[in-house]
């Protein structure tokens, strides 16, 4: 076991609360969204009806998961206008706050996989199976293909993300077994296994993340003391390096689509290297020559 835990330096420098600010905000967001959905069935207060695939807030605001809407369209079915309006609102929202902000701030599976990751770290479990982080895009393509080929929402029969959220609100049934399997996969078999490598829902939202506005940025990267805590805590550590280390002259903004905007890097950094900003923040950093590979910087 490592003598010092991730973020210990940050706790010493900023206090426990300061070093867990974004984590607490995220949990508050995840839990309050669940609470909003549960208020109806548990307390009879109907602010939100439905679940993450489609919901209706205060009988006025439709929200549709664009990923499931896309699958429905691929089966050859034309939904009602309300579903399209809901998907447009959700798309615009995540274009602003970051595509995979869904994963870090909304998705209930995140709490399960985070718990497994936390336990994995506390128990010092290392290694395990390794599969590429690109696998999720293959699975994403597969789910779309299945919808088109079978004419049904085949992926929704097994999708743990929608299944879990729906289960919490409408009754779990055997969903607990699926979620337990995800937890154990994450704990023993694969680090960042589900959210970081397999989940096509996250893969879909990362496509929005390619152009989304709010981004974390290593604006203060000169102060980095190479403690590596941000890499250790990040669920997608590959996204940090270009921005933090200026690889190929990259600016300080984390532009990689798979950054979930969870803010863990901000929390665990004792030097306050990271802040949230916009993707256009890279303008500030003029020292670097034109970026070669991390394409979508502003023109």
């Amino acid at each position: 076991m490592t003598p010092e835990r991730i973020g210990a330096e940050a706790v010493a420098a900023k206090g426990w609360l300061g070093a867990h600010k974004w984590l607490l905000l995220r949990r508050a967001s995840q839990l309050s969204i669940l609470a909003l959905f549960l208020l109806g069935p548990l307390a009879g207060v109907w602010i939100v009806k439905g679940n993450l695939t489609f919901s209706y807030t205060l009988d006025i605001l439709p929200l549709t998961d664009p990923y499931i809407l896309l699958q429905t369209l691929l089966t050859g079915h034309m939904p009602e206008v309300k579903a399209f309006v809901g998907a447009a609102i959700v798309l615009v929202f995540y274009l602003l706050v970051g595509g995979r902000a869904f994963c870090a701030w909304v998705c209930p599976v995140n709490m399960v996989t985070d718990a497994a990751a936390w336990l994995r770290q506390r128990l010092g479990i290392k290694g395990g199976a390794h599969i590429s982080r690109k696998t999720r895009y293959w699975i994403l393509a597969l789910t779309l293909l299945l919808a088109a080929l079978t004419g049904t929402l085949a992926w929704e029969l097994v999708n743990p993300v929608s299944m879990f959220h729906r289960g919490i609100i409408f009754g779990l049934g055997a969903t607990w077994a699926v979620i337990l399997a995800l937890f154990l996969l994450e704990l023993f078999v694969m680090q960042d296994g589900w959210c970081g490598r397999l989940c096509p829902v996250g893969a879909f939202y990362s496509l929005i993340g390619k152009v989304s506005l709010v981004r974390a940025a290593a604006v203060n990267r000169a102060a980095c003391n190479d403690c590596m805590d941000c890499f250790a805590v990040c669920p997608e550590p590959q996204v940090i390096r270009p921005a933090l280390k200026g690889v190929d002259g990259a600016g300080p903004v984390i532009l990689a689509a798979n950054c979930t905007n969870c803010g863990r890097c901000i929390d665990v950094c004792s030097k306050d290297v990271f802040v949230f900003g916009t993707r256009f923040g890279s303008k500030v950093d003029k020292v670097s020559p034109p970026v070669k590979s991390m394409a979508p910087v502003c023109k």
Partner: protein, 287 residues
Amino acid sequence: MDSEKPKKAPAASQARRQFLLESARMACGVGLLGIGIGLYAKQAKALPPLAIRPPGALAEKAFLGACVRCGMCVRDCPYDILSLATPDQPVATGTPYFVARELPCEMCVDIPCVKACPTGALDHSLTDINKSKMGLAVLVDQENCLNFLGLRCDICYRVCPVIDKAITLEQQLNARTGKHALFIPVVHSDACTGCGKCEKACPLPVAAIKVYPTELAKGEPGKHYRLGWVEQQKAGGSLVAPDVPHQYNLPEGMRYEPGKGLMPSEAPPAAPGSQPAVPKALQGGKL
């Protein structure tokens, strides 16, 4: 990352080889997953007979492509009869259904479940609940149905929201007693909505009348079949040749009456004033 410059071509081919290998690996692994989910999806299309879809549901296969499993219909059902299937149930995960024997559809006139559906998996063109086709009631157990036994249970008939159209009672002779009537409940598929009230109300421990998904319950006549008597009525007369009364070739003085057979063509007129043939013993007077 740092490819050695002198060996550029081999490095490129190495990278290509690596890329192809990686792609093949992914395609195989993910393809296996796809086969698994695809086969599971195929099985999930078979809706179990006890699960009835809400009013206006598209045909099962189209429904499974259109329904996003949001549960809005469940929420807007004022009687809470709908539920979303969990993965351990034999209904496609997350889709809405009800079990008629537990809670049948109350057939709200404003059909809130259909209105709530954001995708049209419950067809918004359904505006008259009496036209809904959730399923079809079938009197499956004619051995135990009380009406078939000659009793006047009639409960399924009485509770039917489309009484005398969806279920009628057809009178038949009770062959067991020879003198009573059987009132046979007959379901008419053109009027039955599949709400399940009859199944719910059947007083037997296991219902003799059950609602099944229509495609399970309904037969279909051959496309070329025509019912002669219907066609005749439509045409207002015989469709083949004009009907000619049958000419019998009968012995003289006899005629033929359907159901009775041969009989004298006309009974000899009784002589006026003549006595009916009464046995001698009953004629009174002395022997």
